[in-house]
């Protein structure tokens, strides 16, 4: 068995499991007033049943981003990449392409764009933050250009009435998510490549001195990230009735990064786990659900969500402040 997780990651995961259970209790407590016990249980069951479908795009994107962050890089353009996925899907749909082909376009677009980010970062040596900040604007613009040019009569959004185009996002999302998460975790625990991504984030110079091919290693992480983001994009797009590339997935990247960091991944690379990310996304999703039931004001919910993220990470840091200090000084 590999040294799967470091102690801080394991500790964070334990917090997230406990926190998720607490959030379920909060949701249940919010459902109880004005309903019978049986009714509340039934409504909680509905919430849980919809959970995999609703969080699938974010969870898949978060797993992809985790691999990228492990290498010491980051991708801030993932929301815009999803917009491009929406644009190519709309183009395929408007030209009556087969649904499978439309979904394949999504995968290819996301994989291609994220891999391009990787190439720019590693081969040209441009910092990931700069490349992907530029991508944030450029890919959103590209999505709008694509729909304006490639979708006849496009007037700001496109409605997709055919049910067949929504099957993956609506009916298969849970299964696709389960398989993809399983593959990621098995990949992490049994293959060398994820460990090398962590090694790259931990010490690029150590990897170089051991003769590893750094650009290839980093690009493989971006490719993996692109694949998972493409899969998430496919589910995201096929779960929408209306495709609007100008507003699709706005702020998505921040939510995904928050989940990854919550899951114990070091934002500077070298440490983390896919399972932690999965728990991070689950926790954030349940927190949002709990806030929907607990608060009417949308802005107050946003404020509480931010405070909750800060609270979990801050609480962990304060509780182990001495330990962090020692590590820093060692």
């Amino acid at each position: 068995m590999s040294l799967r997780m470091t102690a801080p990651v394991r500790r964070r995961m334990a917090w997230l499991v406990a926190g998720s259970i607490a959030l379920l209790a909060v949701i249940f407590a919010c459902l109880l007033p004005g309903d019978t016990l049986g009714g509340a249980v039934s409504r909680l069951g509905t919430v849980l049943r919809d959970t995999p479908r609703n969080m699938a795009p974010e969870m898949l994107a978060a797993i992809g981003l985790t691999a990228i962050i492990w290498t010491g890089a980051i991708d801030l353009s993932i929301g815009s990449v999803l917009a491009v996925c929406g644009a190519v899907f709309a183009m395929g749909y408007s030209h009556q392409a087969h649904p499978v082909l439309c979904f394949a376009f999504c995968l290819l677009a996301a994989g291609g764009l994220v891999a391009t980010n990787g190439l720019l970062v590693r081969w040209l040596g441009i910092p990931a933050l700069i490349v992907t900040l530029a991508g944030l604007a450029a890919y959103r613009g590209l999505a709008l250009v694509l729909v304006n040019v490639g979708v006849p009569g496009f007037d700001g959004n496109l409605t997709v009435p055919e049910e067949i185009y929504r099957v993956p996002g609506r009916d298969w999302a849970g299964w696709i998510l389960l398989c993809a998460v399983g593959v990621a975790i098995v990949f992490e625990w049994t293959c060398r490549r994820p460990r090398l991504w962590l090694a790259l984030g931990s010490s690029a110079s150590a990897c170089r001195l051991h003769g590893l091919d750094l650009p290839r290693l980093a690009i493989s992480a971006f490719l993996f990230g692109g694949l998972y983001l493409g899969l998430g994009g496919m589910l995201y797009v096929s779960n929408q009735q209306t495709i609007d590339p100008a507003r699709m997935a706005l702020g998505f990247e921040l939510s995904v990064i928050a989940a990854v960091v919550l899951g114990g991944t070091n934002i500077f690379g070298g440490e983390g786990s896919f399972l932690g990310t999965v728990l991070g996304v689950l926790f954030l999703y349940l927190a949002r659900q709990a806030l929907i039931y607990a608060l009417d004001d949308v802005h107050a919910r946003q404020a509480f969500e931010g405070a909750l993220i800060l609270g979990v990470i801050g609480f962990d840091c304060v509780l182990h402040r001495g330990e962090h200090r020692m590590e820093e000084l060692k």
Binding site: M1, S2, L3, T6, T190, C191, R192, R195, L196, L198, A199, S202, S203, S205, A206, C207, R208, L209, H210, G211, L212, G270, E271, G322, R325, M326, L329
Partner: protein, 518 residues
Amino acid sequence: MSIESAERGTEGLFELSGVSRSFGGVVALQPTTLSLFPGEILGLVGENGAGKSTLIRLISGVLRPDSGEMSWRGRPVVLDSPRSAIDLGIATIHQELEYCGHLSVAENMMLGERWPRGWGGWVDWSAMHSLARSRLERAGCDVAVDIEFARLTAVEKQLVAIATSLSRDAGLLILDEPTASLAAPDARRLIEHLKTIRDSGVAILYVSHRLDEVLELSTRVAVLRDGKLVHVGDADELDGSELVEKMVGRPLQQVFPRTRIPSVSERGDPEVLLRVEGLTCEGMFEGVSLEVRSGEVVGLAGLVGAGRSELARAIYGLYPADSGSMQLLGHPWNPRSAWDALQAGLVYLPEERKRHGLVAEHDLASTLSIGIRDQLTRWGMVRSSHERDRVSGMISDYDIRCSGPNQAVGTLSGGNQQKVLLARWLERDPEVLVLDEPTRGVDVGAKAEIHSVVDRLAAAGHGVLLISSDLPEVVGMSDRVLVMNRGRLVAELSGDSQTQREVLQAAAGLVPGGEAGG
């Protein structure tokens, strides 16, 4: 075949022929011709900035030469990457080990190679751990392979790095200051290990500032000075002072100067500047009591991990103590931060100057002036002319060799970096100095200068707590030596009992006649 090879009548394992390298017009290594033979240890010495690192980086494929040729077993080779050197059989262990702290020991050992695979092509972790264990056993190293690499001690990290190199069938092993961060017994263990490796036919290029080690271990010694190879010869033909003379180009007399006359013990009862009583920091040190008096250099010796640096940091206010008390200049001392210590007249020179002492990219002027920033400002604004004057004064007072105050501090030699750190804090005119390994990785010339500064400070009435793993230094410089073992103060040695042998015995847990406590 080189001249050396022809003289020996055997072919060199690795040969450099007229290899040179410059950086932006500055010649770091003049055309150099040198051979390494199987089963020999070639000691490479020189002051900081003499070109040793450049030579190592050329041989290990990190740098490419501007001119000259290299050959491996008689065949010309081009080393254009670390990978090409590794593939050839050249393994380099750098002074500051590069490793992935969160990965396991086994993963770090096999970072650049194929990992054993099992069913379905997946990594066979148990086979990998067995392989790593067997490699460590072969190298005589007993370390768990499935723990985080960052958890290993300094000597364990070194031994793992050597075991890793040897497992790759290295024909040439390059070791850059391997004992710099090791205490004497650990260094001894490593040296004995290297002799075994040499006897197995591996060539070793051994780079160190510890000249006694170089002379003991090496078959031949090569000396670099100002980028030029000035001497290659048998180690038997040289003694320490001759070697130093070749390195610095002049005779060097005073390594441990003593101007503090009369010594502190002969001056009656000087004022106690720092008093520590029963200080405990759980898991690091326990019940430590000591005193540092005015005009006194108190040595603090012990093995790596004995708790010396942790104690120093607690005194400076970086670690909160769990119990015990401290007094500084006669007042209760409960520091909550480093700033408290600086304000109270206590300074600390950290063990790892690059990590904890300097920002390599900053220029010399800002590095020096940051220690006295409060003295340079008026109404919150820095007085530039005043800063310039103070910085120029510090550069000349402490003989910091640089191109000017705008030079990046990371580009200075190790000795000069250490002088910068000393100057930065001494400019505050502190009462007590805690110096943690002040001459580690510093060449002999700079070492003598640092010793001289410490001696002048003590002579001027300052109190110095000197932590050092360099036994001759800690014995030669100190008025008395306190020895720590496993977080406890186990001996106080002074007078006739203050010898390297006694210090070593106490550090190893074999407490001699000395009495612990301050």
